[in-house]
Symmetry: C2
Subunit: 194 residues, 2 copies
Amino acid sequence: MHIESSEIQEIFKGISFTEEEIDIIASVLKKIVLKKGTIIIKAGDIVTNSYGVLNGCLRTYYTDKKGKEYTLQFGIQGWWITDYTAFFTSSKAIMNLEVLRDATLYQLSTKDREYLFIKIPKLETFIRKKLENVYAAFQKRILSNLSLTAAERYVNFINAYPNIDKSVKNYHIASYLGITTESLSRIRKELPSH
Amino acid sequence: MHIESSEIQEIFKGISFTEEEIDIIASVLKKIVLKKGTIIIKAGDIVTNSYGVLNGCLRTYYTDKKGKEYTLQFGIQGWWITDYTAFFTSSKAIMNLEVLRDATLYQLSTKDREYLFIKIPKLETFIRKKLENVYAAFQKRILSNLSLTAAERYVNFINAYPNIDKSVKNYHIASYLGITTESLSRIRKELPSH
DNA sequence: CGCGACGTTGATTTGCCTCAACGATTGTGG
DNA sequence: CCACAATCGTTGAGGCAAATCAACGTCGCG
């Protein structure tokens, strides 16, 4: 499928490329379209790709021995998603990557990613700064999990992802917040907005 | 205070430098020695430095409106520490950085850090990979907070930082795990190792 | 030695979970 | 396009892990 320059800009928002650089990037990206329900990665798989989201919605989640799910990350337009722990450390996935809403994605392999960093050093700087922002975001989430009640975390989540409830089920949100669907239901009932 | 080449290798473990590169790095690092109890950064400060730990022990912690503390990170030999959220985003600190045990540190400013990345590109690659590892570690901690009991988290913590209990108080560990000192005390009592 | 900081123990409370049953919504085949 | 089944969300009762509140040991340092 053809890859548009504007789409590459969407996936690497905040950095501008020369035409030559766009060509290099386009040469390693692979555009894929996937239906809701597709499991792109399942626990145990070797993870060699990450996915830039052009449209649609995805999530990564971990399933514990009791079968309980924990959603680690949602992926919406402009975000990159994969089991990064496995992707970065070249180990087997411990998480699953699921399409929640029909999606168009850009696939980028570990190898090609390193190739891009060598060919386009400013891309590595860009990603390094992205990772720094993620660092801050993760710290915030850890603090949030430690210090806030379930209701407070839900309110923060809704503010952070205002329109995500159109794409995801309540039990996905519950599993992101680390609570049960029953608890989330009760929290929603108590909220002023109802 | 004089900066040894071997000390720089300790702070950037896993990467080797030429003599010239060592000189560049040494020119921007400042060695400081601080006493236990020193608050290096307090909430509200502008954060312009990060600190590589040569010896001693530190922690970053957040204090909520009720005065309850949450420890985000411990810093021991070979680690870098600061309020990274503020450091990366050039905003005011929301956390405090405290010396738990007399420490010798290397101070590196935001500006000098960017300068080093330009002068020594492989250092940026090194840091980018470090950040990727941190990404994996943070995900693991988030999952751990969501899915494990307090006792399980305590056991994992002790395994991850085997000798840290020599430097930190139990209530520091409790505040890292997101539990009270009373609960930690009860958990320790129930553990086979006692 | 004595005081303040730290850790422990007990009694009680609370936020969220579990289990169970029942509505509501969505999707699919006839 | 409706009917019905499966999935998803809500509600209630009861239980449990950890918090809170309070009191009392214990350790280390001036």
